[in-house]
Symmetry: C2
Subunit: 185 residues, 2 copies
């Protein structure tokens, strides 16, 4: 699989890639264990601090690693590795090391122990911001503390899950910037 060269990116601007709602690969590490999971239930919650929330099913192996380590990396895959994305989502980190099994290369995070995936277009390093809703709602609220994005392609072709094994692939961009109030941009 192709590896991307990622470059530093402002954390307050990660919404450009997360708000459209792509499937992401969330990686975690804790006490010598590591895991990665496929995730579609997430949302942006703020610019500064750069907040992002996600729902992690509590029977997923990643749930415990995220909860214990209070860290994760959000990796943004593109459509060319959708088969790998599906394999990650249909296997358990309790049984296999998904990174090794699916040929993913990793780079250590700069601010967190969770690994960045080099086959992904972007990686966003996160620390837990508010864990108060984990036990009640499986809801983790994270702060993005480092962001890394590729420069090519300029806009990643992401996949967006519809359920039932179907994905929507991101289409063309359109701009309506001229219609916006300056304070809304």
């Amino acid at each position: 699989m192709k590896q991307y060269r990622q470059h530093p990116f402002p954390v307050e601007d990660v919404r450009r890639f997360l708000e459209p709602g792509p499937i992401v690969l969330v990686s975690t590490a804790w006490r010598g264990q590591r895991d990665v999971m496929t995730l579609g239930w997430h949302m942006v919650m703020g610019f500064s601090p750069s907040l992002w929330a996600c729902y992690l099913w509590n029977e997923n192996h990643s749930f415990e690693l995220a909860k214990r380590s209070r860290e994760c990396v959000i990796n943004l895959p593109t459509v060319d590795i959708v088969d790998t994305v599906v394999r990650i989502g249909n296997s358990s980190g309790a049984e296999i090391d998904k990174f090794a099994s699916f040929g993913l290369s990793t780079t250590p995070g700069e601010a967190v122990a969770a690994p960045r995936i080099r086959e992904c277009w972007a990686s966003f390093e996160c620390r837990l911001h508010d864990g108060s809703q984990i036990n009640k709602h499986n809801l983790f609220i994270w702060e993005v503390v480092r962001a890394h994005v590729a420069h090519r392609p300029k806009t990643p072709r992401t996949v967006h899950y519809r359920g039932d094994g179907r994905f929507m692939v991101s289409g063309p961009d359109i701009s309506r910037k001229r219609m916006f109030l300056p304070e809304m941009l």
Copy 2:
């Protein structure tokens, strides 16, 4: 603007349209006031009950109507009305009635007082499930109690916000159903 004929749809399946991350129009009503806002910060949180969370900025007029009424309707617009979506997002319901100003037709909700928008491809009626994170995080957790979707087109062309006045328009669907474990579908 074209009006859609919406039909009943199972509430546990609304993820097919919400999980890909589209911009939605959230409508609210409370004591004779009504409003609609453009929203991109939202996520699916469960199938049954059908849970959906969103972040509403607390200076937005809709925030108070949502909080007081404990109801809303999620309306799903398509790319053909993106200019209307932008106008809704760049005006305040404290100053104008956005429905009248932007030529939106409404139908009463079946289970909630908030209006459904007939120019949208789908409408999902919601009741507040958990309001405990409203004051802390501007986070509303809703239960979808009625769903209505159009039959044509079969798949709506939705818009997904990137910030800076730019939208990604939904592209083609691909299936990897044959790669899924039965219990993951």
